[in-house]
Amino acid sequence: MAELSYLEASKQAIAEEMRRDPMVWALGEDLGRGGVSGQYKGLIDEFGPNRIADTPISEAAIMGAAIGAAMMGTRPVVEMRFSDFALCAIDELVNQAAKARYMFGGQARVPVVVREPVGMRGSAAAQHSQSLEAWYAHIPGLIVILPSTPADNKGLLKAAIRCDDPVVYMEHKGLWALEGEVPDDDDYLVPIGKARKVRQGNDLTIVTWSATVHTAAEAATQLSAQRDIEVDLIDLRTLWPWDVRAVLESVERTGRLLVIHEAVKTGGFGAEIIATIAERGPRLKAPLRRLGAPRVPIPYSPPLEKLMKITPRQIVETAKVQMQA
C-alpha cells in the first residue's frame, strides 16, 4: 500500500499496464508534456512518444484512429481531456466503437479506454463542466466507469485497459488531488460492475458515484452524529454494468433509497436506478428519491455554479424528509 493521489494512481495503472502489455498505448493532446492535468506526466520518458502519443486537436480522428488501431489488436487509451470535447467524437464512439463488434458479426473487437474527465470545477462554465455518463449507459456495447477514490482509479483503470470492450472511463476533475491508500500490486484489479459499500447502515440507502460519493459520505457522517440516521452508502463505481444486486439488497433492508448524482437530474442515470428498483416493487418506507443538478447549463460565476452542486446539507435535508415519510 502507498498513499497516492487519484491522479498518481491512474498514472501508476497506465504505467503498469504498459509495462505488462506492449500493445497498450495512450494518445491525446499534450500527452507528451503530461496532459492537461498532469495525468501522463513523465510517462513519455519511460515509454517514448510512440506509446505516449501527442495528437493534433482532432478529437474525431483521435477516437476514429483509436478504433482502427484497436480493431488491429492494439489497446489504445484515448484521452479526450474533458468529457465535453468527446462530443466532437460521438459518431466515432457511438456509431463505430460501440457497434463494430456486433455489426461485423463478432469479427471485430474494440478494446479502447476512452478517458473523459467529468464534472464541475472552479468556474469551468457550460462547455467544460458536463457529466454525461447517462448517455453512454444507454448505448449498447459500451461500459461506463466512474471511479471515486485513488484505489479505484488504479484498479478500475487497469481492469478497463484489460477489458476487450470499449470503456468510457470518467474521472472527476475535482478529485485529481485526492489522496488515499492504493495497493502496490501489479495485478490489483477492481472488478467492473461491482459496487463498493462506503458505509454500512440500516436506515437509508444512498447510491451515488464519482465525486458525489464524498459529499454523500460527509452527509452520512452528519446524519449519524446528529440524528442517529445510519446510511447504507453505496458507491456504484460502474454504471454499465451496474450492481443491481447490491442496491436491491440494501433497499430491501432499509426500505428507503436516495440516488444522487452531479449530472442533471432529468434523464440522468439516477432515473434508471429508481426505475429499476421501482419495477421490482420492494416494500418501501418512503418514496424513492433522486438528487441531481437542475436542467440548467453550468454557469460560470462561483455563487451560481455552487447552486448547481449537490451539498451535504441538501442530502441531509432530503434524508430527513425520507425518514419522516
Binding site: 493534433p56 476514429g64 484512429a65 478504433i67 482502427g68 455489426m103 458479426g105 449498447p140 477489458c163 470492450d165
Partner: protein
C-alpha cells in the same frame, strides 16, 4: 470508347482475370438489386455498377494481409479483396452463413479473414478508422498497408481533413482512394464542393495525389501498383482520385431520375467493362471468351442468390451475442419473456 492502349503490350492474362472480377462484381450487384425488387433484401443496397475498375484495379494490387476500409458502396471492394460472394449474398439476405452472420447487411459487410475491416454506414467515418488501422501496423512494425475508399461527397466531411492529416503526421501507410462518381446521393457533388477537388485538398495536407480515369482498368491497375509499391516502401500516405460515374441510382430505392437521360446514356459508353472488353479484343481475345466470362459471372451470382434464399434464418439467440463481454444482456431477460 476505350482509349488506345499499347495492346501488343497488354498482359492479357492479368486483364482477363480483372475482366472476370469486374463481371463478377457487376453480376453480384445486378443480382442484389433483383433481390431488392423481390423484397428478399429490405435494407439499402448501393451498387457499384460502373465503378468496378476501381475496385478491381486497386484491390488486385493488395496482398491478402493488407487491410481495406470501405463505404456504404462496398460490395465491389469486398469481392475484389477476396471475400466470398456467396457469403456476401447470404449477408444481404440476412441469413446464416452471411459474412456478418446476418447482423450487418450490405452497409456493414466485413470479412476480416481477407483484411476487409468493414463497410461503413456513415460517410467518411472509415477514413480515420483506416488511419488508425495503419497506426497499429506502424506500432507493430510490420509491412502491411491499408487501402481506404470513399466517395466524392465524403471529402466535405471533417474526417477527410482530420484523417489525412493524421496519416501524414504519423507517416502511415494508407492508400486513400476517392471514387469520384460525380454524385452524392441525388446531389451533384461539384455544386457542394469548393476549390479544385480531392487531389488538391490532399496535396495541401502534404500527401502525394494522383488523378486518373477510374473507368480505365489499365490506368487504375498501373497507378495503384505504383502507389502501393511506394507506400509499402516509404510508409507515407497517398491519395488516388479516380473519375467515374454512378451508372444506376444511389441505392436500390432510387431510380436516379434527377439525372438527364442523355447524361446517363453517354456514360454507359464509357463504362469500364465495355472498355476492358475492347482492349482485350484488340489484344486478340475472342468474343466468345468474353461472353462466357460474363455468363459464368451471372450464373455464379444467380446460384449464390438461390443458395442464399435456401439458407436458414439466424437463430434468435445470436441477436444477443457479440454486444460486449462485460454486462451483456441475456436473451432470457428479453422484454417479451419477462
Amino acid at each position: 470508347m476505350a482509349k488506345a492502349h499499347a495492346s501488343h503490350n497488354l498482359d492479357v492474362d492479368r486483364y482477363l482475370s480483372q475482366f472476370r472480377e469486374m463481371h463478377r462484381i457487376r453480376a453480384f450487384e445486378m443480382t442484389a438489386l433483383q433481390a431488392v425488387d423481390e423484397k428478399l433484401v429490405l435494407g439499402a443496397v448501393h451498387p457499384s455498377v460502373g465503378q468496378e475498375a476501381i475496385c478491381v484495379g486497386v484491390c488486385d494490387n493488395l496482398r491478402r494481409d493488407d487491410l481495406l476500409l470501405s463505404t456504404h458502396r462496398g460490395h465491389g471492394h469486398t469481392m475484389a479483396k477476396g471475400a466470398s460472394a456467396a457469403a456476401m449474398m447470404r449477408e444481404l439476405l440476412g441469413r446464416t452463413g452471411g459474412t456478418n452472420h446476418g447482423k450487418g447487411g450490405s452497409m456493414h459487410i466485413a470479412d476480416f479473414d481477407v483484411g476487409m475491416l468493414g463497410a461503413n454506414g456513415v460517410v467518411a467515418a472509415n477514413i480515420s478508422i483506416a488511419a488508425g488501422a495503419a497506426h497499429a501496423i506502424a506500432l507493430k512494425g510490420d509491412d502491411r498497408i491499408v487501402a481506404c475508399f470513399f466517395g466524392d461527397g465524403a471529402i466535405n466531411r471533417g474526417p477527410f481533413l482530420e484523417g489525412l492529416n493524421w496519416a501524414k503526421v504519423y507517416g502511415l501507410p494508407v492508400l486513400f482512394v476517392c471514387e469520384d462518381n460525380r454524385y452524392s446521393a441525388t446531389t451533384k457533388t461539384s455544386a457542394m464542393t469548393s476549390g479544385a477537388g480531392a487531389a488538391e485538398r490532399a496535396r495541401s495536407l502534404g500527401l502525394n495525389a494522383r488523378e486518373i480515369d477510374g473507368n480505365d482498368i489499365v490506368r487504375v491497375d498501373e497507378a495503384a501498383r505504383e502507389m502501393i509499391t511506394e507506400i509499402r516502401a516509404d510508409r507515407q500516405p497517398q491519395l488516388l482520385v479516380t473519375s467515374t460515374y454512378r451508372l444506376l441510382g444511389h441505392s436500390g430505392f432510387d431510380r436516379g431520375q434527377y439525372r438527364p437521360d442523355a447524361e446517363v446514356d453517354a456514360q454507359w459508353e464509357h463504362e469500364p467493362i465495355r472498355r476492358c472488353a475492347a482492349l482485350l479484343k484488340a489484344a486478340g481475345v475472342r468474343d466468345a471468351v468474353l461472353t462466357s466470362i460474363e455468363q459464368e459471372a451471372k450464373a455464379e451470382m444467380l446460384a449464390a442468390l438461390e443458395e442464399a434464399k435456401a439458407a436458414p434464418w439466424p437463430a434468435p439467440e445470436i441477436a444477443y451475442d457479440d454486444v460486449q463481454d462485460v454486462g451483456a444482456e441475456k436473451m432470457e431477460h428479453a422484454p417479451w419473456l419477462s
